[in-house]
């Protein structure tokens, strides 16, 4: 069973958390990435994620394996949602079960940081003004300027 999954529906947080139960673990850390109502001064109405699933799942599993090996935690899992979602909805969840809290916090942080920079996932912000823009476009724009 995959520990990294992609869904196009509301993330089932209760089921996700139940899947992380482990009697050998005294610590469980969960991170939820949620849709916020602003970015760089612009009011945001909703977000849209495009996910290239075959490679996102493969690379996501790899990141979870790295976290298990690096921090010696018992269980690690994550789910990312694709498609359109509204304010306060959960776009990504990461869970880590470990014997103790230090490694659970560290592994959870590692996983979310790596997911954000390595998975083929793109975020489009829809603004109150009616405009929509792929996030990271400013980086693209500055790359254009540098030729």
């Amino acid at each position: 069973m995959n520990r990294f999954t992609v869904t196009h529906d509301t993330i089932a947080l209760d089921a996700f958390r139940r899947g992380m139960d482990d009697p050998s673990c005294g610590a469980y850390v969960q991170f939820e990435g949620r849709v916020r109502n602003h970015n760089e001064g612009q009011p945001v109405l909703r977000l849209e994620y495009e996910i290239y699933e075959p490679l996102a799942v493969k690379e996501g599993e790899r990141i979870l394996d790295e976290a298990l090996a690096r921090y010696g935690v018992e269980k690690a899992a994550a789910e990312h949602r694709g498609g359109l979602m509204g304010l306060e909805e959960v776009a990504v969840v990461v869970g880590v079960s470990a014997a103790h809290r230090d490694e659970a916090f560290a592994a959870c942080r590692y996983i979310i940081d790596e997911l954000k920079i390595r998975l083929p996932i793109w975020k489009k912000e829809h603004y109150a003004s009616g405009e929509a823009r792929w996030v990271n476009c400013q980086r693209c724009a500055s790359a254009h300027d540098q030729g």
Partner: protein, 79 residues
């Protein structure tokens, strides 16, 4: 050499298409990207752009073979 090229997110907007076949004289992912740039004026390779070949992450100097599927990824923004 004939390869299938796929564009995602902002790259799809830049090129106006999601995939196309390219007959390439070049032999690496970077060379094929340059050829695609000459077809599509809006297409630029940003510093954080990534490339994959046959569903495995690759580099910009990864060699290609006839029939490969090349995936061009603009800067990612998960989470």
């Amino acid at each position: 050499m004939r390869v299938k090229v796929r564009y995602f997110a902002a790259f799809r907007d830049d090129t106006g298409c999601s995939e196309e076949f390219v007959d390439s004289a070049g032999s690496t992912t970077g060379e094929v990207f340059e050829q695609c740039r000459s077809r599509h004026q809006g297409l630029h390779r940003h510093q954080a752009s990534m490339v994959a070949v046959n569903d495995e992450m690759a580099q910009w100097d990864t060699p290609l073979a006839d029939g490969d599927e090349v995936l061009f990824f603009p800067p990612v923004a998960g989470g």
